[in-house]
Symmetry: C2
Subunit: 236 residues, 2 copies
């Protein structure tokens, strides 16, 4: 299982200024720092599982996580990619229901757990934190609705190009300025696009043939950004 250890400070957390808590009041941060428990999860480990009851929220200190629903037939649909500074598990907590998604580490990650009661009580007191939460929720909702529209209307080819851009936006590129800095299996890419694994593979090959990308195992290099954007056919 995950290795727990105490991290004494939230005020000095490396992603303090990009996270929800950047707006929280100082005294509340101190309380969180005291109560939270940080753990390291290895690649492939599950942080929480669809159907389980939430006991708190998770704040990612370092690493990459995928959040996915498992559909009726067992196929997974990735609904969100999470990076350092993001929090997860708040939806279930706020609506007081069970998790509707499973969180799994895409690489070794260090994650802080903040107990439910503390989080909720601070949320009651701290208007800035509440507001920031609402901003995050709104933004996620906006993205989700856009994804709905694209799933309903765009062909797989466009969605794949869009997904590549989305991965780049989320996790960025390596030093060379071309390689996506996350390693996803073809199946995971397909589950992000919302298509069959074979279709994703075939289209990636096409993209490669057209000189838009380069493939080397799980490494994906974006060569011709202009063409990728054109293929994604974004206009809203």
């Amino acid at each position: 299982m995950a290795t727990p250890f105490h991290n004494p400070s939230c005020q000095h957390c490396k992603d303090r200024f990009s996270s929800v808590f950047c707006k929280a009041e100082q005294c509340n941060l101190e309380q969180i720092a005291e109560a939270k428990v940080c753990s390291v999860y290895r690649k492939g480990q599950v942080i929480f599982h669809e159907g389980a009851y939430p006991f708190g929220v998770y704040c990612v200190n370092d690493g990459k996580i995928k959040l996915s629903h498992s559909g009726d037939d067992g196929r997974e649909q990735i609904v969100r990619l999470i990076k350092a500074g993001d929090i997860m598990g708040y939806k279930a907590l706020l609506s007081n229901e069970r998790y509707t998604a499973t969180a799994m580490a895409l690489e070794d990650s260090s994650i802080c757990f903040i107990p439910k009661d503390l989080f909720l009580s601070i949320l009651q007191k701290d208007a800035s934190l509440s507001f920031e939460m609402m901003r995050i929720l709104s933004s996620e909702l906006r993205k989700a609705e856009l994804k709905i529209t694209h799933l309903a209307q765009k062909p797989v080819r466009e969605r794949l190009a869009e997904t590549l851009l989305f991965i780049k936006e989320t996790y960025g590129l390596e030093e060379d300025g071309h390689t996506l800095s996350v390693r996803l299996s073809r199946e995971e890419i397909a589950n992000l696009v919302g298509t069959a694994t074979e279709s994703a593979i075939r289209l990636l090959s096409e993209f490669k043939k057209d000189g838009m990308i380069e493939l080397e195992g799980k490494k994906i290099r974006l060569l011709d950004m202009t063409e990728i954007i054109r293929t994604a056919n974004l206009q809203d």
Copy 2:
């Protein structure tokens, strides 16, 4: 355009207990009651338009509204159905961006407008209202993510059955206990399901032939709920 008139009280609004504001503090309700402007929108009128800047939130007093994105090729995707007691337009306001969806009245509706500054300032002060907003946002996000999974994984037939159930959940049935109490065009149903109009029509005819539903113009009667639920193949 819409006909504006002043409605003196929010405290006595007919949907006060089912809306976000049911948890708001009394004094804040009074402030809202003073500042808000109520208008009647006729069927087909646009309340706000994708791309416009938000100046406040809308609270539906009575009526039915569709919220839709218009995709690249102009086809619309309905992302939410709104009923009395619901609010809309908060997403754009909270994330401080332009509207990403267009709101159009599905029937004559009476809608209150609450100015941006007032709404935001009350949100800062009123923790209960904030919390309620977060609950709503969480719940919408959950629904949106579920819809993403279904769009990606379920065939149109299942999604249509699911959509019929969703319309029933949202707007309920007429007195006969069978007829959906909203009139949608075939195109609107298709845009809700995320499919072509012809496909929606064909499958509705099939449902009818199988005795699941009855069609009479825009009236849809759900006859065999068990079979509809079975067809929707819900399990999460």
